[in-house]
Symmetry: C2
Subunit: 475 residues, 2 copies
Amino acid sequence: MTTHQPSQTPRGVATSGAALFADTIEDQAVPVTRVDWGPPMDGTSDDLATVALDPLRSEANERAVEAVLKVQAMLVDVAPASDVLGLQPGEFLHAGPPLEWERASGPMRGALLGAAALEGLVDDPDDAAALFESGQNVSMSPCHHRATVGPMAGVVSSSMWMYVLEDPEDGRRSYCSLNEGLGKVLRYGAYSPEVLDRLRWMSSVLGPLLAKAVRRTGPINATAILTQMLQMGDEGHNRNRAGTLMLLKELAPAMVETGTASSEVGEALSFIGGNDHFFLNVGMPACKLALDAARDIEGSTMVVAMARNGTDFGIQTAGTKDAWFTGPAQVPDGLFLGSYGPEDANPDIGDSAITETAGIGGFAMATAPAIVRFVGGSVPDALATSRRMGEITLAKNSRWPIPILEFDGAPTGIDVSKVCRTGILPQINTGMAGKVAGTGQVGAGLVTPPAEIFPAALSALAEARRGRVAAAVGG
Amino acid sequence: MTTHQPSQTPRGVATSGAALFADTIEDQAVPVTRVDWGPPMDGTSDDLATVALDPLRSEANERAVEAVLKVQAMLVDVAPASDVLGLQPGEFLHAGPPLEWERASGPMRGALLGAAALEGLVDDPDDAAALFESGQNVSMSPCHHRATVGPMAGVVSSSMWMYVLEDPEDGRRSYCSLNEGLGKVLRYGAYSPEVLDRLRWMSSVLGPLLAKAVRRTGPINATAILTQMLQMGDEGHNRNRAGTLMLLKELAPAMVETGTASSEVGEALSFIGGNDHFFLNVGMPACKLALDAARDIEGSTMVVAMARNGTDFGIQTAGTKDAWFTGPAQVPDGLFLGSYGPEDANPDIGDSAITETAGIGGFAMATAPAIVRFVGGSVPDALATSRRMGEITLAKNSRWPIPILEFDGAPTGIDVSKVCRTGILPQINTGMAGKVAGTGQVGAGLVTPPAEIFPAALSALAEARRGRVAAAVGG
C-alpha cells in the first residue's frame, strides 16, 4: 500500500462519528472534513425547518458576519464615564442581561456596594444595600445597553475612566472600564478599602495619564493587537499577557513624554506590567464594536452578544433586535485558587463572553495551549475545541489566523440554527468569582451557556419569519 | 474494533521508517516512539564503537547536560566592553571559530571596518581595510574565547556596551552587545554613517540608561523570560518578540525612575519597542552561560558551542576542551527581503546558533509556528523538526516546555555520537547577511552545519578515549 497514488486518491472526504476512520484516511494524505454530528436539540425541528426556508437567512447571515469581520477597532481615547456615557452618580451599569438587585448574586452585589461608596453615595459600602433595596436615587442597567462591556460584575459608575474604541469607517464607539488586576478587585465582587483605594488611584492618576498618552500616540489598532496576540499564546479572554505587553509598548514612550511626574509614570508602568489581564478591557470593547456592526439585520440567525450577570446567561441575535434570550447561568468547571472549591464559586458572570461571540477566547483555545493549565484540560482538548466551534459558526476570521491550525482563521459568528441543529454549545473560558459578596476571584475554568436559550432564540427567529410570511400573504 | 481493550493493547511501540504504521497504532491510543533511523555517517563506525564503549561517556554526558539545565542566567549589569572585557581600541571580537582577515567574508569585513571607525582608528571605514591587512595595531579573536557571543558578524569593540549575565551559583559570567535592530546594521555587515550614528547613540544614551535601570531593578532572570517566550510564539533565535516585550516591561519603570531626561527615556523605550529582536542579545548569552557550565568534562560527547564566522562553521564539545571542529559554512535556504535572492546571501554567520545548542531556536520550532512564514516551511514541518531534534539530544529541558508538544521540554544537549549514528544534523534558524560588505540583511532561513564536522569531533573523542586506554594499560 502506498500513499502516493493521486489517481486513486479521493479529493477529500467528509466524516462524522468515531475519529478512527477520519484519522486513517487523513494519514493517507486525503483532506478530511470532520463533522460533529448529533441529533438536533429537542423540539427544534419545526423552527429549524422554518428558519432554513427563510429566503432572507443566507444573505442576512453573510451580511452580518462580513460586517463583523471588517471592523478595525481603534482605541481613540480614555475618559470618565460621566463624560463619554453621561453617567450620573447613582447610575450603575452591570454585566449581562437586565437584572434587579433582588435577583443579583453575591459578586454583583459586592461590586455595586463598592461602586456606590466610590461615588460617595455612602461612606460604608455595606450601607448601600439599603439604597439598592429601596431603588431610591440609584438605577441599574446593562452595559450592553450603553455600547459598553464589563468583565465579571462589569459594574461601571460615573467617576470610572473608560477606554473609548471607535470604528473609523462609521464613527461607532464602544466602551470599557480599566482593568484593576486580579484577586481582591471590584469586578470579582470585592469592595474592601484597598479595592476602593486602587479605584481612586485609577481615576486620579492612571486614567488621566492613559488619556494623555493615547491622545499623544493617536489611535491604536486594538484589532491588530488581537491578531498578534493569537500568534503569541493569548486567546484574548483568560490570557492577555502578550496583548498587555503590546499595549504597554505602544503607550510607554508617550506616557513618559506627557510631562507627568516620573514617579507616577513609573507607578503606572509597573501597574500595567504587573497585570497580565490589563489588555482584556481593550480586547472586549474591540469585540463589542465588531459585533454591534451586525445588529438589526432582519433574518440573520447570528449571535451578536453572549453575556452573564451572575444570575442569568443571555444572548442577543442580529435578527431579533434588542431581545434577550436568557436562562440560568452555570457554575464553571475548572481550577480553584488556594483552598477554594466548587462550592465557593458563583455562577458564570461577565460580558467577557463577547470575546467568544467574536471568535476568540474559548473559540481560539488552540492558539493558547498554555491556558489549558489555567482552566483545566489538555492540549488536544484545546485543538478539538477550536475545531468544534467551527461547526457552529459562519466564518473563519482571516484577520485572526491560528498558527497551530495551519493559520486557519478563528471560528467567528455563532449561528443559532447551527447550535440547535448540532447540539454543540459555545465554549467559554472564564474567571470564577466567589459567590459571597466581597470574596474576589476563586478560580478559572470552562463553561457553556444554558442550552435552552438557543431554542428560545430560534423560536423567536422562526416567529419573525412566520410574521413576514403572514404579512406578505396579507399584503 | 475498539481502542479500549487494555489487556490486548501493547504498552507502547517504537517504530522507524514510513509514518503510516506509527500513525495507525497511535490512532489506537498506543504510545508510539518514532525513531528516525538511517545508517551512521560514512566512516564513523569504528569511532562510534570506541566512544560507545567508553565507560566515562554515560556519566559524563549526564553531568554535562545536568550542568546546562540547572543554570539560571541572570542579567546583572550593562557596561562597556572596555570595562568588563578589558578590550582596548584595536581589539575586536568576532562571531564563530578563529578567523583571519584574509579569509573573512563580506559582512564580517564590513562589520570590522565599521567598528574600526567607531573606535576612531580611521575616519572613513574603508580606510580600515589596510589596517586589517597589515595586522598592525589591530587584533581579531572569537567572542567565544572571551565568554561572549555575538549575533551575525558579532563584532565587539571596546566602546560598545555589553549585557553582563551571571550564574548566581558560581559567579560565572557571559556577555553580549546590545541589539541594533534590523536592516542596515553593523552585525549584518553595514557600516554607513547612520549605522555608526546609531552605535554612538547606543553607547552614549541607551547603554548608560539600561545600566542604571538594571542596577535599579536588580538581577533579571533571562532563563525565566526564555521559559515564558516559548509559551508566546518565540523560539528565541529568529523570533524574540515576546521576550523583547517582557524585557521592556521589566526595565521600563526603572528607566523612567533613573532621573534621565524624559526625551531620552522616551527615545530608548521607542527604540526597544520598535525592535522585535532586542531580546536576542540577552537570550544568546543566557544560552552561552548555560553551555559553558558543561565545558571540559572528560568523556562527554555533548556539543557546547555551534558558531559561524561567515566562512567556517565550528563546533566545540564538552570532551575536547577548546578544540574547534570546522567546515565550510553553508548558505541558508529561506525567504529573501525585497529583490534580494540566493545569489546575494553570504554563507551562515553568527554565534546565534548558541540558541540551538541550548535547545531553542530551530530546535524549538514547534513553539513558534508563526516563524515558519518568516523562514519558509509549514506548521507540520515545525512540529516534525522539534521531534527530530529529540533524536540527537541528551535531554528534554523541563524548564523550557513546548506547549503544543503537550509541554514536552525543548530538546537539549546535542550528542555528537547521536548525530553521527543517525545522520540527522542540527536544524538552525537564522538571518541571512548580504555577501557584499555594507549590504545588511537580505533574508532569513534554515541551515544546517556542514556534516563533516561531527565525524571530526567524534574522531577526536574516540582518540581521547584510546589515549585513556593506552595510559591505563601503560600505567
